[in-house]
C-alpha cells in the first residue's frame, strides 16, 4: 500500500497511464486493425471516405466510451456498497442489483418495446432499486443486524429470481432471442454515441455525489454510535449512498447489460494500492474500473476472432478467483 503523498501521486499517474493505454488499444485493436497514426488522424482530420476512420468514428469510439463509463460506474458502485454494508464480498453484481436492473430493462425492451438507453435507464433504476431493497431486507438478521453471508445469499437468490424471469421471457419471446441474450450476457458493443449522451448528466451527478461524500464514507466504517457521536446523520447518508449506487449500477446495466465482478475486483485492487481513504479510493477505483473493462473488452475481441467473447464473461472469469480468495478469508460468519 502506498502511504506518502508522493507515492500515491505517482501511483495515480501510473494508473492514468494504464488507462490511456487501455483506451488507445480499445480504439486501435479489433477485426479491422487501425494504426495509431490513423487514430490520431481520424480525430484531427476526419475523412468519411476512409474505412478505418469510419470504423473508429462510428463503432469503436462509442464502444470505448461505453466501456469507460460502465467500468467506472460499476467500480464506484462496488466501493460504495462494500463501505455501506461493511462486507468485502458486496458488489452490484453479487448482491443482485445488476440482475434487478437487467430484468426490468428486458421487460421494458420486450413488453413495452423501449429501445433507446435513455428510456430503458428508468426501467433499470426501478429494477436496481427493487433488488437493492429486497436484498437489504433479506440480509438483515433478527437482533444481529446485517450478516455478510446472509446478504450474499440473499443477493444470489434475488439474482436467481430475476435471471430466471428474464430467461422465461426469452423463451416466451423467441423472436427477441438475440436482444435478450445481449442483456443477459453483457456487452459494450453496438451502442450509438447519440443514445448514450442523454445518460451522462445523471451519471455525472451520481459520480459527483459519491466524490463529495468521501469524508462521510470514511466514517461509515465505524460503529453507528460513534458516527452519531461525531454528528453525522447516518440514516440520511446511507440513503444517499444507496441512491447513488442505484443510479450508477442502473446506468451501467441500461448501457451494457449484465457485467459482473468489476464492482468486486476493482475496489479491492484500489484499496490494496491506495488504502481505505475514500478521497483516493473513489477516483482511483473509477480509473481502474474503466481501465479493467476497456482492457477486458479489447482482449475479448482478440481471443477467438472474428467472434467476440462477451465482456461479462471475461470479467466473471477474472473475478472468480478473487471472490474465492475473499470467501476463504471470511471467518466465523454463519
Amino acid at each position: 500500500m502506498l502511504t506518502s503523498l508522493l507515492a500515491r501521486t505517482s501511483g495515480a499517474l501510473l494508473c492514468l497511464t494504464f488507462f490511456v493505454v487501455a483506451m488507445a488499444s480499445s480504439l486501435v485493436f479489433g477485426n479491422i486493425p487501425v494504426s495509431l497514426d490513423m487514430l490520431i488522424a481520424s480525430c484531427l482530420d476526419y475523412d468519411p471516405g476512409s474505412l478505418e476512420h469510419l470504423v473508429i468514428r462510428t463503432e469503436r469510439f462509442s464502444r470505448t466510451v461505453t466501456a469507460l463509463i460502465v467500468g467506472a460506474g460499476l467500480a464506484i458502485a462496488g466501493v460504495l456498497m462494500q463501505t455501506l454494508t461493511r462486507n468485502p464480498l458486496a458488489s452490484p453484481g453479487i448482491l443482485g442489483v445488476n440482475a434487478g436492473a437487467m430484468f426490468f430493462v428486458v421487460v421494458g425492451a420486450t413488453l413495452f418495446s423501449l429501445t433507446s438507453p435513455s428510456e430503458l435507464v428508468w426501467a433499470a433504476f426501478t429494477g436496481a432499486a427493487t433488488a437493492a431493497f429486497l436484498v437489504y431486507f433479506l440480509g438483515q438478521e433478527a437482533g444481529r443486524g446485517i450478516s455478510p453471508v446472509r446478504t450474499v445469499l440473499a443477493g444470489v437468490a434475488v439474482t436467481a429470481l430475476f435471471v430466471s424471469f428474464a430467461q422465461g421471457l426469452l423463451i416466451l419471446n423467441q423472436n427477441r432471442f438475440e436482444s435478450i441474450l445481449f442483456w443477459l450476457a453483457g456487452s459494450v458493443s453496438g451502442r450509438e454515441l447519440a443514445t448514450i449522451v442523454p445518460l451522462l448528466p445523471g451519471f455525472g451527478l451520481a459520480l459527483l455525489v459519491a466524490l463529495l461524500l468521501s469524508r462521510q464514507l470514511n466514517l461509515l466504517g465505524l460503529d453507528d454510535e460513534v458516527i452519531r457521536g461525531l454528528g453525522l446523520r447516518v440514516g440520511q447518508i446511507r440513503l444517499l449512498v444507496g441512491l447513488t449506487v442505484i443510479v450508477l449500477a442502473g446506468t451501467s446495466v441500461a448501457m451494457a447489460g449484465l457485467i459482473g465482478f468489476v464492482g468486486l475486483i476493482v475496489p479491492h485492487m484500489a484499496r490494496g494500492i491506495f488504502g481505505t481513504d475514500h478521497r483516493w479510493l473513489l477516483p482511483m477505483s473509477a480509473i481502474l474500473g474503466a481501465t479493467l473493462l476497456l482492457a477486458a473488452d479489447t482482449v475479448a475481441r482478440m481471443i477467438i476472432p472474428p467472434q467476440e467473447v462477451p465482456v461479462g464473461v471475461m470479467t466473471a472469469l477474472l473475478g472468480t478467483p478473487l471472490f474465492l480468495y475473499l470467501a476463504r478469508q471470511v471467518r466465523q460468519l454463519s
Binding site: 433479506l138 438478521e141 450478516s147 429470481l161 423463451i171 464473461v313 472468480t320 476463504r328
Partner: protein, 348 residues
C-alpha cells in the same frame, strides 16, 4: 406438545416415533398429489375425461387413448413428481447443512455445474434435439462442481459458511462459461440449450423414469434414517459432538445426498430452479418438526409444485409447450416475497 404415535417391536428392541401432524399432513399431501396427477393425465391437447384416465390406468387397452395416456402423459407426470421431490429434499438437506434458510442447489452451484456440463456437451456435439448422454454428462458436472466446492471450502472439515460462499463464486464462473458457450453456438443449438437451462419435462420417456428412480430409492430412505443428525447439528457444532454425532462425516454424507438428489433431478429435467429453495420453507410452515419429519413434506410439496408448473406449461398455452421452469419461477416468486417478509423475524 406435539402428539406422537410410537410403534414398538416386542421387547422394545426397535421403536419408531411418528409425529401425528406430520403423518396427517403426509397423507393429505399424498392424496392431493394423486388427484392432481389424474387431473394432469386427463388434460392436454387431446381431451380425455377423468373416467377414461381411471379406466386406462386400471385396465390398459390397445388404443390411441391408452397410448397417449400411458406413453406420453404418464411418464411426464411421474418425472415431474420424481424431479420435484428430489429437488425439494435436496433443498431441505442443504438448508439444514448450511444452517441458512436461503441455501438451495441452484444457489450454491450444483445446478450451475450440471448446466455448464450440459451446454458444453450440446455445443461440442452441435445437438439440436435430445440425447441420451445428456443426463449422465450433466450429473457428472454436478458432482465435479460439488467436489471442487468441498475441496476449496475445506478447512479442517467442511465449514458451512465457506461452502456457501465458495459455491456462489463457482456458480458465477460457471454461469459465465455457460453464457459464453451460448453466445458462441448457432441459434438453433442455443435455443435448445436455453430450454434445457430453464428446465423442461417435454418428451419425458419411461427410460428417464427408470433411470431417475434408483437415485431417489437410495437417497431418500438413507436421508430419512440419517437426518436426525442434522437436527443435532442445528443446535450448534459442540452440541452435535456432545450428542455423539460424527460431525464432519455426517456433513459429508448430507452433501453427497443433496448433490445426488439435485444432480440426478437436474440431469433429467434441466436446470429447474427455486423448488429447492421454497419447498422446504413451505414444509416448515405446514408442520413443526425435525428434519426427518420435514423430509416427506418437502418432497411432496416439491413434487406438487413441479407437477402444476409442468401442467400449466403444457395445457394453458396449447399448442405451445412451454418449459416448466418458467412457471416454477412464477409460482416461486410470490412465495419468495412472503418468505423475505417472514425471515426477518427469524434468526438464521
Amino acid at each position: 406438545m406435539t402428539r406422537s404415535l410410537v410403534l414398538r417391536t416386542p421387547g422394545d428392541r426397535y421403536s419408531l416415533k411418528l409425529n401425528i401432524r406430520v403423518l396427517k399432513m403426509t397423507l393429505a399431501l399424498t392424496a392431493l398429489l394423486a388427484i392432481s396427477s389424474i387431473l394432469a393425465l386427463a388434460s392436454g391437447s387431446h381431451p380425455t375425461s377423468f373416467m377414461d384416465v381411471l379406466g386406462t390406468l386400471a385396465a390398459p387397452a390397445r388404443s390411441d387413448l391408452a397410448l397417449i395416456i400411458l406413453e406420453i402423459r404418464l411418464p411426464r407426470v411421474i418425472m415431474a413428481i420424481l424431479v420435484g421431490a428430489a429437488l425439494g429434499s435436496a433443498g431441505l438437506i442443504l438448508q439444514g447443512l448450511v444452517r441458512n434458510p436461503l441455501a438451495s442447489p441452484d444457489v450454491i452451484g450444483i445446478t450451475s455445474g450440471a448446466s455448464a456440463a450440459a451446454v458444453l456437451f450440446l455445443w461440442l456435439g452441435g445437438i439440436t434435439g435430445t440425447s441420451l448422454l445428456l443426463a449422465p454428462v450433466a450429473m457428472g458436472g454436478a458432482f465435479t462442481v460439488a467436489l471442487c466446492i468441498t475441496a476449496l471450502a475445506w478447512h479442517r472439515g467442511i465449514s458451512p459458511a465457506r461452502l456457501v460462499l465458495v459455491g456462489v463464486g463457482l456458480a458465477a464462473a460457471l454461469t459465465a462459461v455457460t453464457t459464453l458457450l451460448l453466445v458462441l453456438s448457432p441459434d438453433s443449438t442455443a435455443m435448445n440449450a436455453y430450454i434445457w437451462l430453464t428446465g423442461s419435462l417435454y418428451a419425458s420417456q419411461w427410460h428417464d423414469v427408470t433411470a431417475l428412480t434408483p437415485w431417489l430409492a437410495v437417497c431418500l430412505p438413507l436421508a430419512l434414517i440419517k437426518l436426525r443428525h442434522l437436527d443435532a447439528q442445528s443446535m450448534g457444532e459442540d452440541m452435535a459432538r456432545g450428542l455423539g454425532s460424527a460431525l464432519q462425516g455426517h456433513r459429508l454424507l448430507f452433501l453427497v445426498l443433496a448433490v445426488a438428489l439435485a444432480g440426478s433431478a437436474v440431469a433429467y429435467a434441466g436446470a429447474v430452479g427455486f423448488i429447492g429453495l421454497i419447498a422446504p420453507h413451505m414444509a416448515r410452515r405446514l408442520v413443526t418438526s425435525g428434519h426427518t419429519g420435514l423430509l416427506p413434506i418437502a418432497a411432496l410439496i416439491g413434487a406438487l409444485i413441479l407437477l402444476y408448473a409442468d401442467w400449466i406449461g403444457r395445457v394453458v398455452f396449447i399448442p405451445r409447450d412451454l418449459p416448466a421452469g418458467v412457471f416454477v419461477a412464477g409460482i416461486g416468486a410470490p412465495f419468495f416475497v412472503y418468505l423475505l417478509y417472514r425471515l426477518r423475524h427469524e434468526p438464521g
